[in-house]
Amino acid sequence: MISPVIFYNLVLSVIGVLQYFIVPYIVTRGTGAPGNSAYFFNMHLYKTAFTFFDMGYGATQAWLIFIIALTLTIFLFATARRWVYYASGD
């Protein structure tokens, strides 16, 4: 009965985690220290675009993460037919 809500949270948290940026950026002051252990993709994107000012490559990386997130979301929607139960049918 609660699977629609679980599905909602799953999709939103997958998207949210792929955009994980603020917490590691503040905690490690943008370095990803110690030893890149807190260096997330979006931090790399930010560094490429706004530290090294390689806007073209940064934009490409942004597109890459967008496509990955979209693919994962579509994949989740495809699996949803198997395990998400809607009382209204569909």
């Binding site: 909602y8 967008f66 997130a69 209204s88």
Partner: protein, 359 residues
Amino acid sequence: MAAITYSKAVNTSPFYSVQLRRFGVGATVTLLAFIIAFVYLLPFGDMALMAVKAEDQVVTSTEAPVLPLEPGYTTYEGKQYPLYNVPTENGVVQMALVKKGRQNSEFYDPANPDAGLIPWEGNWRGLEPAYSIVPHFENFATAWELTNFPRLFANTLAIAITGMIGTLLSSICVAYAFARFPIPGKNILFIILIGTIILPGQVTLIPTYAFFAKIGWTGSWLPLIVPHFFANAYNVFLLRQFFMTLPRELDEAAMIDGAGPFRVLRSVIIPQAWPAIIAVGLFHFIFAWNDYFAPLIYLLGRPELQPISVGVQIFNFAYGPRPELVQATSLMAMVLPLVIFFFAQKIFMRGVVITGVDK
């Protein structure tokens, strides 16, 4: 011997042990909940304490104590002298430092005025000032006046309520369409909708701002309110998920009685979906209440239109850094959302009960 049999009888009694275990489990869970709640409430406590601190204590003191403490003073022969915790033969005594000296100083004991000046051997710099708790409740009045709080409050309320109405109207309609109607290419449309969540707000910020600047809406509330009348992916997704769980039979029964799509929405779907609708309204209200960035960029230079989140910034810029006034204003701003949250929770619980009974 008798005592042992007694204790055995008590221990083997199933009622006693079950009760004891229940009490133990209950106490552990409650204690754990209290610890977790305490950790989560720590920032709030810090905020509340800072709101009643004096300016000196927050801004100038490098080692500010957590509590709103102030060094004590006492008058001696018409002059004010700071109080110190002085170790003497009779334990630590609070005494006023009258005459400072490197090797020995002279103190005055306010509890024992007949003794006059008491000499003390040692460096007074090693002594700790005697603090006393002095809450400055006048911070609230100062913040209220300097920010023109009623105007900020009215602005925030107007923006939040109109936006909330807009987001509820539009999100309910869009979610209803996604949940119930056979639209060609519905799945692709829905993925595009989810795609707007995947796109971070920072990406769309500059084009959105340029657009609103071109049509001349900057400097007004329109960019903060009108977009919410065109639905929001998070809310549509949440409501759609909820509407999908409602059985179609009730819609069909209403349709047989001659209800059109809007009638079904109003009389069948919405009464069953109150918990989700209240959740969406509440989320939007709290989002709009705390939203800082959008009002900041769209209402720049229009202080008479700004909400609390932007208006409170005068204590960071116009009046210099006054964190205690920022916290006092924020505390006043929190009151209404908290009250609304508790009332909404009541309705929320009632909504859950009603849907549970009706099914």
